[in-house]
Amino acid sequence: MAKRPAKKASKPKSAKSDIAQFSKEEELQAYRAMLLIRRFEEKAGQLYGMGFIGGFCHLYIGQEAVVTGVQMTLKDGDQLVTSYRDHGHMLACEMDPKGVMAELTGRRGGYSKGKGGSMHMFSREKNFYGGHGIVGAQVPIGTGLAMSNKYRGNDNVSVTYFGEGAANQGQVYESFNMAALWKLPVIFVIENNGYAMGTAVKRSAAKAEELFNRGSVYGIPGRQVDGMDVRAVKQAAEEAVAHCRAGDGPIILEMKTYRYRGHSMSDPAKYRTKEEVQKMREEQDPIEQVKRRLLDNGHADEDELKAIDSETRAIVTDAAEFAQSDPEPDASELWTDIYREA
């Protein structure tokens, strides 16, 4: 049964107070994880500007709380799959920033040996199943991963991320139908950042304010979540994970989030006002929210946070240096990895 979103507007503070508070450790964990994504993406944008990264490059800046909060609820063997805006997901599941950045620059030390690029990266070790460039295609794939869990009789869940733009794809509803029919353990996370490239969600989706409800005709429960608040994300994800592990089938989480940058690096984002972006940054930034709480609650002081920032920058700088100095793949790689040896 679809749950209604928390009543909003009149009492936003009381809605916030429903959210389970984070311990000091959780706040710091989330802060580090989100900061790494933010700094990594800023550096990726810079390297793109310098010509080190080519093609399409979609940054996750602004949306960090979504993958970070969900990831805090998963266990070994749970799988992730997402679209082409995938750098944040890879960092969140602890893939090596060097390998991710080197893939962005098309170098041999990249996760796909330089043959996949920004949109096509994978890690069997970390159960990250891509990185898919076709809008919506990862949704049946994630549903299939859930099918493999059920087939094997384990209690792992597949977390399948897609944007609100992909939420209009036919294959998403084919997947909803089969996931519900077969009670597959899949969490469909709709990352609703408001814009499918340049098209505002209201211009592309019927009942745009209720995307969490898109599975209701299949009996898939859905929840709308403040995707800028990592605590709200984690709390919703915990419930969703428990639902799936218990064998109750799929569930939808609509994360209301926002991307600060354009759709890709070459998008000037003229379809929204600067004021809109600025307002989100100032009032709802997911990292600033945690930072403020850490300081207000005395969990950390400015110096400690600065130290975390320095550590994070050092990790990103290392990754960027590796990604620029690592050689391109050997020419012989053109002909490898087309088939596995039968």
Binding site: G51, Y151, G170, S175, L181, K274
Partner: protein, 464 residues
């Protein structure tokens, strides 16, 4: 150390742009994420955000400057605690924060000469070897329908990770009864009826394949697989390469392909050439029951995606299959189905009925035709074709699919490249007519190839 801000490239093709506007001035405090300037490219005006933090010590390129090359230092930032005036004194000639791309490019090995890498390796003889059938082996009359079912059942008994999914495969016992009895033996966990949603269930099967299972996806016909072709190509075929070898899938897409009888244009298409073009896929189209069984078993065991093209009209045709415990036929190996000396006829799948019929008719006219059954379309066993043509010096190709960019076109091109000096006549192609399949019985017959067309093509190649 002060950090220089370089003129960014804002699109994959941008080489220079106009620094339209500075939104900050010297002396301003800058935080990462602040919009500091606007840059115009030929396509759009873009905002530049700061990545580094500190004080803007100096602007090198004034607003309004046109044709600023990518990676030109445009300003410098002094980090917290650094001497702003010293940073400002650092001219654009100072070491940039990072190496510009053109220098980096020089460090990497230059691309090898075109001839070294742009073409696939020379044609080598297939290393696959047909299994020997021991003398005295009992041969069992089997239809192709039964052969396919037996292949799936044997592999499902052998490996719990193999399962079948598709429309009507379980309770209905198969739309064409190919999966008859499998639900009874293996149960609904491993024989899964799907809704009529090819796009979705093909994607789900690929996901299950990434998850380590070995799905057999039955399409009621390959005409409907067009709805799923994105997952067959983009998700199944390309992922091993795109993941640098980490993430492939062992999956079989199978079902009837090509014209059936009187089902008209949307239900009568041969997809051999469509899938044969895709690196990462293997494509099999058997003719005989022994090959159907042996190749399907190999396809299920293969760690790669295999497109297995069957034919509705052949399902009920009976052949002899050797009664052996584990009969399998290697993928990638053609078979000389009939030996001859005067002309080579190359075909596959149902095309073999015309090829063999024509060979028989030619024989009665004193012409000895050799018939090669490709069996696998990709990787194609060209070595066997070339070896035959070196003997006969003439070649006719036969297929039901359309003639444009057909399998015959590919064979003709390959023979031109690799056996030009052995050819005594142009390669002749017999194919379906270049029209959508008509419904009327007489027109349908005209649209398909027939024995006489193959016969005439062979004679043309022989100049008789």
């Amino acid at each position: 150390m002060p950090t220089q801000i370089l003129m960014p490239a804002l699109s994959p093709t941008m080489e220079e742009g106009t620094l339209a506007k500075w939104l900050v001035k010297e002396g301003d405090e800058i935080r990462s994420g602040d919009v500091i300037a606007e840059i115009e490219t030929d396509k759009a005006t873009m905002e530049v955000e700061a990545v580094d933090e500190g004080t803007l010590a100096r602007i090198f390129v004034n607003e309004g400057t046109e044709n600023v090359a990518v990676n030109t230092p445009i300003a410098v930032i002094a980090a917290d605690g650094e001497d702003v005036s010293a940073a400002a004194a650092d001219g654009p000639a100072a070491t940039p924060a990072a190496e510009p791309i053109h220098e980096a490019a020089e460090q990497v090995p230059s691309a090898p000469a075109l001839s070294e890498v742009s073409t696939a390796p020379e044609i080598e003889a297939s290393t696959a070897v047909d299994p020997e059938i021991p003398a005295g082996t009992e041969m069992v009359e089997t239809t192709i329908r039964e052969a396919l079912r037996d292949a799936m059942a044997e592999e499902m008994r052998r490996d719990d990770e193999v399962f079948l999914m598709g429309e009507e495969v379980a309770e209905y016992q198969g739309a064409y009864k190919v999966s008859q009895g499998l639900l009874d033996e293996f149960g609904p966990r491993r024989v899964v009826d799907t809704p009529i949603t090819e796009h979705g269930f093909a994607g789900i099967a690929v996901g299950a394949g990434f998850g380590g299972l070995k799905p057999i996806v039955e399409f009621m016909t390959f005409n409907f697989a067009m709805q799923a072709i994105d997952h067959i190509l983009n998700s199944a075929a390309k992922t091993l390469y795109m993941s640098g070898g980490q993430m492939g899938c062992s999956i079989v897409f199978r079902g009837p392909n090509g014209a059936a009888a009187r089902v008209a244009a949307q239900h009568s298409q041969d997809y051999a050439t469509w899938y044969a073009q895709i690196p990462g896929l293997k494509v099999v189209q058997p003719y005989s029951a022994a090959d159907a069984k042996g190749l399907l078993k190999s396809a299920i065991r293969d760690p790669n995606p295999v497109v297995f093209l069957e034919n509705e009209i052949l399902y009920g045709k009976t052949f002899e299959i050797p009664k052996l415990d584990d009969w399998s036929v290697p993928i990638g190996k053609a078979k000389v189905a009939r030996s001859g000396t005067d002309v080579t006829i190359v075909s596959f799948g149902i095309g073999m009925t015309y090829a063999l019929g024509a060979a028989e008719a030619l024989n009665s006219e004193g012409i000895s035709a050799e018939v090669v059954d490709l069996r696998t379309i990709r990787p194609m066993d060209l070595a066997t074709v070339i070896e035959s043509v070196q003997k006969t010096n003439r070649c006719v190709t036969v297929e039901e699919g359309w003639p444009v960019c057909s399998i015959g076109s590919e064979i003709a091109a390959q023979l031109m490249t690799h056996a030009f000096d052995h050819l005594d006549a142009p390669v002749m192609r017999v194919a379906g007519k270049d029209v959508p399949m008509p419904y009327a019985a007489n027109l349908e017959k005209l649209a398909l190839p027939n024995v006489d067309e193959v016969l005439q093509a062979a004679k043309a190649a022989l100049y008789v």
